[in-house]
Each structure stands twice: as C-alpha cells, then as structure tokens.
Amino acid sequence: MHYLKISDDPINVDALYQKLVDPQYGGIDMFVGTVRQWTGSIQTTKITYSAYQPMAERQLEKIAAPIEAQGGRVVVAHRTGTLELTDIAVFVGVAAVHRAEAFKWCQHVIDTLKHEVPIWKKEYDTDKVRWGN
C-alpha cells in the first residue's frame, strides 16, 4: 500500500495526505522539508536535487517495508530538479493505528532517508555553489 516516488513533479501535500487516509488508522504524521533561505549567514537562492533514481526508490522500499510489516502505511515523495525557496523537497507521511508509532516511524523514515537514499543537493548560495550539506 505504500507509495514511494522520486520525480521532477511538484509535491502536493493534500494529494499525498489522501493516500494515508484509512478507517484503520487514527494517527498520521507528515514531515515536509522545504528550501530554507538562511543557514547561519549563508543565503540560499535555489537548490537542484539529483538522484540515482532506481536505486533511491529501492532504498526507500527497504525503509518502508518493516513499517508496513508492522501495520503502518508509508508515503514518500522526493523532488528532483531545481527548487526555489519554500518549495517542497521531500514529503514523508506515515499512518498508524496510534500516534506514537506514527511519529516514531515518520522520523525514522526521514532520518534514514538522509543517510541511505542516493539523492544529492546542489545548493546555490549567494556566495558560492555548494554540494551537499
């Protein structure tokens, strides 16, 4: 039942929320990562995301599988391409019977994604271009 997608398409929060709705669930936690303007004194103007797309979707599959095996539902969307300030880079949503699991699993997915999923950002800052964090 999960939905894991890496694409150039803009991310629509409401459409992804709808995929998590089910009478069996009572708690849905959603994390949205957006393009932030300031990191200390560094000013970002845009970010380009690229991915090793088929591997990235396989890695997401591995992160989602144990959560789904425990009865949760996982929805992840990650943008590629060029994003402006406030654009959504990533959406992670987890639906669960109870809220504590929804929070725990959602945080686990985004934390793991940031280490194990081959996606990279090229950040255009006013002083220079930076790869990664």
Binding site: G33, Y49, Y52, H78, L113, V117, W120, W131, G132
Partner: protein, 81 residues
C-alpha cells in the same frame, strides 16, 4: 577488465556521468575508488567518503567479482531530504 562506473553529484560534475577504468578481478570497493581518484586526484577527499553500489545495492568492501552486466556506481555522501 574494463569496468564502467556511474558517477553522481559532485563527481559527475567533474568527470561526467560515467567513467571507464581498468581493474583486475576480484575487486575491492577501494579499488574502484582509487581508480577514479587516479583520473582526478583532487576528488580523493570526496571518494574516501563515498560508497560503492553494485546493481543498485550498497556493497561492503569486497572482494567482488564483476561481470560486464553489472551496474557499478560510486555513491558520494547523500544529501537528500
């Protein structure tokens, strides 16, 4: 054996989306990284923090036997999310 390696992110900006290197089998992950470092020694600091994927799965150090059908990629530190 000649092996085609996919590159991404900063490495791709510098060397293009694939490079071909000569390696003798069996191969360790360090062999892949060092072969690419020889193409551009300034990339060494990124390469030492990179991982190897074979057929879209991370692999540990090896040694590995690679066939021409295998898809080999160097995965620099990821920064999605």
């Amino acid at each position: 054996m000649r092996v085609k390696i996919k590159l991404f992110a900063f490495l791709q900006d510098r060397l293009g989306s694939t490079v071909t290197v000569d390696l003798s089998q069996p191969v360790t992950t360090d062999d892949f990284l060092m072969a690419v470092a020889q193409l551009d020694p300034s990339l060494k600091s990124v390469l030492v923090n990179s991982r190897i994927a074979v057929n879209q799965e991370f692999v540990t150090q090896g040694p590995l036997t690679i066939t021409p059908a295998d898809e080999v990629a160097i995965i620099p530190p990821v920064s999605g999310g």
